[in-house]
């Protein structure tokens, strides 16, 4: 077992496990955001619960490790694959029938995800959990780190941010439409019969998760207008 992760399938297994973990995280994150649509108090209660306590910190570190490992292996795989393709490219290459654009551009989509993520970390994590970790009472926005609802409503009152976040979400949606069935296929859970079902499930899951985030952002924006 020692060298399982050095093999090609082993590296894919790492992508698959970290990917699955990120999908789970996104699902919970989306559900928690949803609370804000209904009640600021409920949302702030969650924000308080996930402040700078030990469980939340450990969770954050594990999550960060998941993203970093997923990203590092994405780079390793992509570089190896470029090398395996050889130095000379085809002068002419047709797109194969039934092959999704997404499946060939997971790395590019991942970069979109990372860029959005950096902005997102600055917007929220830095101004919430980090401020708390540093033991400060006001963040760069001049608000308390536990004023989650206020912060979110403030950010999404700007149309520009709404658009940037929606673009980011579209990137995640594409990444997931391929990622979900791909991660199951990688661990061997697929067959001729399940192929169609899994692809269908990928679209549904990606749409539910991303749709949930997008709706929250849009509703918050509209509530801000009223």
């Amino acid at each position: 077992m020692a060298n399982i992760f050095t093999s090609s399938i082993g590296k894919k297994l790492i992508m698959s496990i970290t990917g699955a973990f990120l999908v789970l995280f996104l699902t919970f994150h989306m559900l928690m955001n949803g609370a804000l649509v209904f009640s600021d108090e409920a949302y702030d209660a969650i924000v308080n619960f996930l402040g700078a306590n030990w469980y939340a910190l450990i969770g954050t570190v594990i999550l960060a490790a998941g993203v970093v490992i997923h990203f590092i292996y994405a780079i390793i795989l992509t570089l190896q694959n470029r090398r395996a393709r050889g130095k000379i490219r085809y002068a002419e290459a047709k797109r194969e029938p039934n092959v999704e654009w997404t499946s060939k551009n997971m790395f590019v989509l991942g970069l979109v995800v990372i860029c959005g993520l950096l902005l997102h970390l600055y917007n929220f994590w830095y101004n919430m959990q980090w401020t708390e970790i540093m033991g400060e009472h006001t963040n760069s926005l001049g608000m308390g780190p536990k004023d989650g609802a206020v912060m979110v409503r403030d950010l999404f009152s700007h149309l520009g941010y709404v658009i940037v976040y929606l673009v980011w979400l579209v990137g995640i949606w594409f990444h997931l439409t391929h990622g979900v069935w791909s991660m199951l296929h990688t661990v061997g859970w697929n067959s001729k019969v399940w192929m169609k079902r899994l692809r269908c499930i990928s679209y549904i899951l990606a749409t539910l998760i991303v749709g949930g985030f997008a709706l929250t952002v849009i509703i918050i924006y509209i509530q801000g207008l009223m």
């Binding site: 093999s7 393709r85 002419e92 047709k94 039934n98 192929m195």
Partner: protein
């Protein structure tokens, strides 16, 4: 029919290659693609020029020798056929046809359109065989095999080892080929016994030879002349992971 051919010419493995343009005229629509290249080569030989080197053997879609990336597709524009089964009626009079060798680091070009595919032989030598004692030849149908298993095995066994999967894959991965070989044996009683060892050995060899990592794009199954399904890759993943976890 008349065609303009843009063909990759490369004198040997070391030299740099480039495209040369040729013209062929009066080709009947029923000429096969390889016959059309034969006609071109006859002409080149008559003109005292070096004929275009390309691989072929059976010319009936069963040996896996023919290759060629034609107008951006492995084995040309038709589906589920090899290059030797392609006919000029698939093209239009006056077309320019681009002909390239397989492009993959594990399949270096030897000359013109011929590539070295012995990496596949090495993968087979690593595990694509049965080493348990299967006894003498039994009477037909004395070993019960379900229809589904027999079909699954035969579908996988249709792989002719042409390498179109590797040539098409953006990752230069040989997973479809390896999966076909592992699956065809894994579904039969004599082959089943060594499935885990086989999956492990063949994947290890595949990695060692510089093929890429599969990212499930499905391009291989779209271009495979035998329409081998990537569901075999799922089985291979499963068997390989079990075998590595067990060790």
């Amino acid at each position: 029919m008349n065609f303009k051919l843009k063909i990759w010419r490369q004198p040997d493995a070391k030299s740099k290659g480039r495209f040369e343009t040729y013209e062929v005229t009066d080709i009947s629509a029923d000429t096969s693609f390889l016959e059309m290249l034969d006609i071109l080569n006859n002409k080149l030989i008559h003109e005292g020029k070096d004929p275009v080197a390309f691989d072929h053997d059976c010319r009936e879609g069963i040996c896996g020798m023919c290759s060629l990336h034609i107008n951006g597709e492995a084995h040309g524009p038709d589906t589920e056929i090899t290059t030797c089964q392609l006919h000029m009626r698939k093209f239009h009079d006056g077309d320019t046809i681009t002909i390239e060798p397989w492009r993959s680091a594990a399949f270096p070009v030897i000359k013109d359109l011929v590539v070295e595919r012995s990496a596949f032989d090495k993968i087979l030598q690593a595990g694509g065989f049965i080493s348990v004692n299967t006894g003498g030849v039994p009477d037909g149908n004395t070993i019960p095999i379900s229809h589904d298993d027999a079909e699954e095995s035969m579908d996988a066994a249709a792989c002719i080892g042409c390498g179109a999967c590797v040539a098409t894959c953006k990752n230069g991965s040989a997973m479809l080929f390896v999966a076909a070989r592992v699956s065809s044996l894994a579904k039969l009683p004599q082959g089943k016994v060594e499935t885990l060892r086989r999956a492990n050995a063949m994947i290890s060899k595949m990695d060692e030879l510089g093929f890429g990592n599969c990212t499930n794009t499905r391009a291989c199954e779209a271009e495979c002349p035998k329409a081998i399904s990537i569901s075999h890759i799922a089985r291979l993943n499963r068997k390989f992971l079990i075998s590595r976890f067990k060790n």
